[in-house]
């Protein structure tokens, strides 16, 4: 594998750490805002802590999966580019496709013979500019959608109690069935995760244990990955 030396340039490291700092700062400001508004929204400090802990627990499995993919791409893109593009803003599937398209237009192969500093610059530039489009459109659309959202709530508050559920169920059904169609192992993984989740929900309802609800997604994901390992 051919790794261009420029991938570890101090400037790239500084920019990568800069993105981490920005997300850290945003999280800090948001957490403070959430704490201040919690009681007005009928939320106790305990519930706020539960929300934080549950969110963190659920993220463990997916974060480790990202780490595994990121580590395998280190020799291609170098640590700073992997941290920002694969780890944060983008996703492994988008970034690798973007990188391959860029490499192809330059007539080289990632990690291949012609993959030098110049080629990496084009690949990294393409990933970053294409990935930036998501942020640009979020910056453009979110304020518009937010205004529409407020107007709808003012007219009929009932609407917004239905919209998120309908949107999420249809999205997860679509994404889930797309995965299930890929192979028998995908099917086994998906079904195991769903079944374990149903069982944990029944257990949480029967014994009225809050901690089961907090851990249920994490446990179900681990069980599903276990099933994938067995089925492979």
């Amino acid at each position: 594998m051919n790794t261009p030396p420029i991938v570890n340039s101090p400037v790239l490291w500084a920019a990568a750490l800069g993105v981490f700092l920005v997300i850290g700062l945003q999280s800090f400001i948001y957490l403070r805002a959430a704490r201040r508004a919690a009681s007005a929204a009928g939320m106790t400090p305990g519930e706020l802590r539960t929300a934080f802990r549950t969110g963190a627990l659920v993220a463990v499995g997916p974060s480790l999966a990202v780490v595994v993919v990121a580590v395998s791409l280190l020799t291609v893109f170098g640590t700073p580019a992997v941290l920002v593009r694969i780890g944060l803003i983008g996703s492994a599937s988008f970034e690798t496709v973007a990188a391959q398209s860029a490499a192809q237009t330059a007539g080289i192969e990632l990690g291949g013979a012609g993959y030098d500093d110049r080629a990496f610059a084009l690949v990294f530039f393409t990933m970053s500019v294409a990935g930036a489009a998501w942020m640009v459109s979020t910056l453009v659309f979110t304020p518009i959608l937010s205004r529409a959202d407020r107007r709808i709530r003012a007219v009929n508050p009932m609407v917004m109690s239905i919209v998120p559920g309908a949107a999420m169920i249809s999205a997860f059904t679509y994404l889930g069935l797309t995965e299930v169609n890929k192979s028998a192992v995908h099917l086994v993984t998906f079904v195991t995760g769903a079944l374990v989740m149903v069982l944990l929900h029944l257990a949480a309802t029967r014994w009225r244990k809050a901690w089961i609800r907090e851990w249920s997604v994490g446990v179900a994901v681990a069980a599903a990955l276990g099933a994938a390992a067995v089925a492979l």
Partner: protein, 241 residues
């Protein structure tokens, strides 16, 4: 309910959400711009445009469809978090939804919105720390250590998380009609739309989501007996038991 502090939350998160996202955008472009113009690797407009078009053909639709599709699930404040942290459908939405269920926050309430924002912060902390430690510091060492079998198993993380999360989304929906309609719309997207028109896969999810939301609203139960998330979830669990 004290509206002033809620209003302040909305103002703070939208102002700072936008500011931090803009900063993230600029900093994420600083590295590649430095390579192009600081190091002098700019290849001219030809190759740059060519590469960009190659990517835009595949992903261009997502640039517009994703912020719009995820807005109804995330809300304004969390949208600014999600598109900077990344991995929305397979990490951040599951985190937000699990937190809302854990504290029994109903969809569409301010409590649900604050729970989502807080859960995403929790997810971000886990994510940033694991990236910095396991990829930034130990990455090169781990690369030689992780056996291919582990990498292969983690390749199934997407179906592994979508199974439990679909169950959770179904359990936490407010109305049975919403559940049936949304499940049917999602399935129709895969088995009708994409099956018949394969090229539609770039925008099929948006079609499913818009259709599910529209039908769920049109056909909603107007009887006034709005079931809460919890009692509805209990009914559902009894039915499946």
């Amino acid at each position: 309910m004290t509206d002033a502090s809620i209003e302040r939350f909305d103002r703070t998160t939208s102002r700072w959400g936008r500011a931090t996202m803009l900063a993230g955008l600029v900093i994420s472009l600083a590295g590649p711009l430095y390579l192009m113009f600081g190091e002098g690797y700019w290849p001219g407009w030809g190759p740059v445009t060519q590469a960009w078009v190659a990517v835009a053909v595949v992903f261009g639709v997502f640039w517009f469809s994703e912020p719009i599709t995820y807005y109804p699930m995330l809300g304004s404040a969390a949208s600014y978090q999600a598109f900077m942290i990344g991995n929305i459908a397979n990490k951040l939405l599951p985190s937000a939804l699990a937190a809302q269920s854990a504290i029994g926050a109903r969809h569409g309430t301010k409590k649900a919105e604050i729970a989502a924002v807080t859960a995403i912060i929790g997810a971000a902390v886990v994510h940033l720390v694991s990236l910095l430690l396991l990829v930034g510091l130990l990455g090169t060492w781990l690369a030689s250590l992780i056996p291919p079998s582990v990498t292969e198993v983690f390749g199934y993380i997407v179906p592994a998380i979508l199974g439990p999360v679909l169950v959770q989304a179904v359990l936490s929906a407010g109305q049975n009609r919403t559940r049936v309609i949304a499940l049917a719309c999602g399935a129709a997207g895969v088995y009708l739309l994409v099956a018949l028109v394969p090229s539609s896969s770039a925008y099929a999810m948006v079609v499913c989501v818009v259709l599910a939301v529209a039908l769920s609203l049109l056909l909603r139960d107007r009887g006034g007996s709005a079931t809460t998330a919890d009692t509805a979830a209990d009914e559902k669990s009894e039915a499946s038991a």
